[in-house]
Amino acid sequence: MHEWALAEAVVAAARQIAKKEGLKEVKEVVIKVGELQQVELEIFEFALSKLEAQGFEGTEFNISLAKTELQCRVCEHKWLFDKTNLAEDTVEAIHFVPEVIHSYVRCAKCGSPDFKLLKGRGVWIERLRGAK
């Protein structure tokens, strides 16, 4: 249910954007969810639906997954995150705080933990559409 906290953040951010842009109504919030954080989409969507009552009645939350791309800073090797060979508690730790991936994952080519997350880290708002 940590997804609930992320959904609350999305709603709070959408409210701030709407206020800043003078929107009376928010019609659509486009949300990207990076695979690295392994957000349970069903729970996330459920949380958003419950939070809709707080001023987002009729808002469409459009959620899609984004692949996680990593790049080694040492050898520049690029790869996509894959949890297949990770232990369950490691996967769970990365779910809570994606940066702990640096404690558990190494570059497949040179073995360095010094890599960057190019894209697909966690939850972000791609765009918001509304009416003034």
């Binding site: 940590h2 609930w4 409210r15 702990v100 404690s103």
Partner: protein, 240 residues
């Protein structure tokens, strides 16, 4: 593209009275011991207190507390476990015994994530154990936590105080509240640090002599609170 996590941090910290970052421009001055003992002292006085270890790459408060076999609970966010009466949060719950080599952007991201998802209860104080230096963690706290207060720890060494001085001046320039400077592992009574703190226009909180019994007390709360070090922390910081 908007990162939504920052928008919820004010709400997450909304039920906390005071947020105090125990910090130092220099490493090895005893920040973690001061922060942990300070937090435990406040619990003894009956306050509701949280302790948040933000030293992601070198966490140590869990060792000082002897926090074993505890883990946050997931429930509409992350509920910190209670350790010796403290609500306690650390990245070590997720990194375990592994090294955590993080660059600045990763430190910021992990810090924002933990502030966004950790659900603290009604606290009188949240004490933050900071990493050394004036880098990402300090700048992020200033950026993200509106009512942050800094408590600066130094030793008697010029090597420590020279960097602490820069930190103190920077915080003053940025108009960030600083409670004062604490001299830890005090070597003599020449009053040098006190005088220089006064020259900076800051409050000298007090000096704590080096206490060799502290090392043995690490991991044992009762023993730690019985040390001369802890008694001095309570005398100086008991009513912050």
């Amino acid at each position: 593209m908007v990162d939504p996590r920052k928008s919820i941090i004010d709400q997450r910290l909304g039920k906390i009275g005071r947020i105090i970052a125990v910090s130092s421009g220099k490493g090895g001055v005893g920040k973690s011991l001061v922060a942990t003992t300070f937090a435990l002292t406040l619990v003894q006085k009956g306050y509701n207190v949280g302790l948040f270890d933000l030293d992601f790459t070198s966490p140590s408060t869990h060792i000082i507390l002897g926090a074993e076999d505890v883990q946050p609970i997931e429930e509409k966010g992350i509920i910190p476990p209670v350790v010796h009466g403290l609500e306690y949060m650390s990245l070590v719950f997720y990194t375990k015994d592994h090294a955590t080599p993080l660059r600045g952007a990763d430190v910021s991201n992990a810090l924002i994530e933990l502030f966004a998802i950790t659900i603290w209860s009604n606290l009188d104080f949240l004490i933050i154990d900071m990493p050394p230096g004036i880098g990402d963690a300090m700048l992020d706290l200033i950026r993200l936590v509106a009512n942050i207060e800094f408590l600066i720890v130094t030793t008697s060494s010029r090597l420590a105080f020279e960097t602490v001085k820069k930190q103190a001046v920077l915080l003053q320039d940025l108009k960030v509240s600083t409670i004062g400077i604490l001299e830890n592992m005090k070597m003599d009574n020449n009053g040098c640090i006190q005088a220089q703190t006064g020259e900076l226009g800051l409050r000298f909180l007090g000096g704590i002599s080096f206490d060799p019994t502290v090392e043995e007390a690490i991991g044992d709360k009762s023993q730690l609170l019985g040390t001369a070090f802890a008694r001095k922390v309570a005398e100086i910081l008991g009513e912050p």
